[in-house]
Symmetry: C2
Subunit: 402 residues, 2 copies
């Protein structure tokens, strides 16, 4: 069975994702499409609009055969650690190819860039350090260092200002650094930009779709398959909620106002005295957006602060992530859902999968899975006791089977 892996958030699954799956299938001739998907919280430090199982169902009904969970400790991180978790999870289940979206749709600039970075690694590191010391945020410093490298083939130099390119580059780097038997493939992204927030026609970014849902309280049906619409409606009817950051604001404010500076400084991402800034601004914040505005600066970007708030909400410690960074790959594979094809694939190859396959929580689970469980509890914390219990029950009863 030929397999193709996709690295996704599906927040929510939309028409652009359908195109991505179709193109990936076409280019790889894969019999089984495997998605590794973030769970409760996303890379930019946001709560998913609906829980992982409803997002899984939407994906399974539109061409994905097997959905694996990208563990929280990798999912809410910068691109390097994110890529490590995602690529190594796909490698553990022997994915033949990984297909990711990029601006140009050509793999050569990624390969060329990787070569240049290898050759000029010292130069890159030294410029990066200088820029960081100047107070630049990491993505900006990275971009600056990168553009000062000698350009081998100019036509093939990557545009690193596009978030999708940065992620794609990190996937390729993880594959090549570890010599993984995975073919990297890229396809051109559909026209809507990552940060585009307006909706025209059938293709819109997930960001634009979420904004539209939160602002107009209406789901833009034209931008998504019917199954996504159904899942969003179902989740909202069950829980009375589509998640966004503001509903967690009372918890975050309460936490910061009752934690000591020492306790705050133990949270992953609370670097360079950010705990003081956070505490000073906590009392007067009138909303989470207002609070982030008060903390943010050139160095502390909105995304960085959002991630920090996510780690605060989930009580994720520096020491925990420090241990996880030392691991060469996640220590389990968790299945969120599968169809017949996915089930057949898992049954056929399970003896070749080197990592334990996890479907639920257990008493003596790894720290990685404990963090996941905390992330789920944090995510559900704003719901009513009965709904909380019901959603947690789903986590215990294992994958969605369709």
């Amino acid at each position: 069975m030929k397999t193709c892996g996709l690295i996704v958030e599906y927040n929510p699954f939309h028409n652009g994702h359908v195109y991505h799956i179709q193109e990936a299938k076409k280019q790889t001739n894969a019999d089984c499409m495997i998605a590794v998907m973030s769970g409760s919280f996303l890379q930019r430090g946001e709560p998913a609009i609906m829980d992982k199982y409803h997002r899984t169902k939407a994906a399974l009904s539109m061409g994905i055969d097997l959905v694996l969970e990208l563990p929280y400790a990798y999912a809410v991180q910068n691109s390097d650690l994110f890529a490590k978790g995602a690529v190594q999870t796909l490698n553990a289940v022997h994915t033949d190819a990984i297909c990711f979206g990029s601006e140009s749709g050509h793999i050569e600039p990624f390969q060329e860039t990787y070569k240049q970075m290898q050759t000029h690694s010292d130069l890159y590191q030294s410029i990066l350090k200088t820029e960081l010391n100047k107070g630049e945020a990491f993505p900006k410093a990275h971009e600056k260092a990168f553009y000062q490298l000698p350009k081998g083939n100019k036509d093939n130099f990557l545009d690193l200002s596009a978030p999708n390119n940065i992620l794609g580059y990190s996937y390729l780097k993880e594959i090549l650094d570890h010599n993984l038997p995975i073919e990297p493939i890229t396809i051109k992204r559909t026209k809507s930009g990552y940060h585009d927030t307006s909706i025209h026609g059938e293709i819109a970014s997930a960001t634009a779709i979420r904004e539209s849902i939160l602002n107009t309280k209406e789901i833009p049906k034209s931008t998504m398959p019917h199954s996504t619409y159904t899942q969003l409606m179902e989740y909202e009817q069950k829980t009375n909620q589509l998640h966004n950051w503001e509903v967690y604001f009372p918890f975050l404010q309460y936490r910061v106002l009752t934690m000591s500076l020492d306790e705050l400084s133990e949270i992953h991402g609370m670097d360079e005295g950010l705990e003081y800034r956070m505490k000073q601004t906590a009392r007067h914040a009138q909303s989470l957006a207002d609070w982030i505005e008060k903390i943010k600066s050139k160095r502390y970007t909105w995304t960085r602060i959002q991630r920090l708030f996510t780690h605060l909400l989930t009580n994720t410690k520096k020491s925990e992530i420090h241990s996880i960074k030392k691991m060469s790959h996640p220590n389990y594979v968790r299945i969120l859902g599968m169809n017949n094809t996915g089930r057949q694939y898992v049954n056929t190859y399970k003896n070749n999968i080197s990592l334990p396959i996890i479907t639920s929580y257990s008493k003596n689970q790894s720290s990685l899975l404990s963090i996941e469980e905390r992330a789920s509890h944090s995510y559900y914390s704003i719901l009513s006791p009965e709904i909380k219990k019901m959603l947690y029950q789903q986590e215990l009863s294992g994958p969605i089977l369709i």
Copy 2:
């Protein structure tokens, strides 16, 4: 100026409290009535039905001249530490007498009991230890040990099964142990029992009044002065809330589900492995009452668990209370409100008051006051951002002056 001190919670101020003030005035001929009152949380580990300032206003309009705050670290504790904080605060402002309610209204049984306990201290301690080791809760073990002491004058032996008698005994003990220049006076309590939850006529316990408000959503006007009714109405109109434990349930459940066992074990009152019991029961709890039922046992009484939840909500650590226990008295006196008589008293005697008089929070405040500030933030956490800000502003702007 002759002063009389009362140790109160006023949760809320009712007709029994009016009687208490009148009797105390009659017996002491005091010109200035000073109340030391618990702030946001009460001795039995409950949130006050409305904030400290609205309760202060109700007290000031019914015969109290000066309201001081009993610091949280003393207020939410067993009777010994509670009494230390309260009596020492009143002593710091040179109160001539302390008047407390008791079942019989006679001071002799308290004095007799104190004498017996002094004489047979070793015996008492040894029985107490045995009973605790058998798994008895502290109040029960204390009572058992106490009743096994040789009774000097039997008629004058205290009934220690009544909560008010236990508190009264602790006040007297604090006065006599430290030889404080304060006259202890007791008056007979009005007919309603401490735990009586039904309402008949004009005298009802604070517990009964709160239950009635929470269950019927109506304030039993006949049981309280009009000023209390006004304050309750005003607070509810401002905040849309009269506080009870259930509104804090989402915060507590979230906290326990995202804290490690080590972190839980640092919380004051989390003894003898209670953290395991708390964690095991957290997921399935459908309300706070349901949760406490699941944790409670002969040894872990309802009150003890409620107190523990309060310390968890306010993030109060064993290490903090350990340091405070070593202090012979609170290290500040905080004024919550006063009328002209109170102000005159403070102005006349302030140079003789050995402790700093505090009205607000500040940057380099003592640990005792920092805990208080956290308790306030925890108490307000369930309110909307604007209301939170408004109530916190009151804490910064200092005492109520009428």
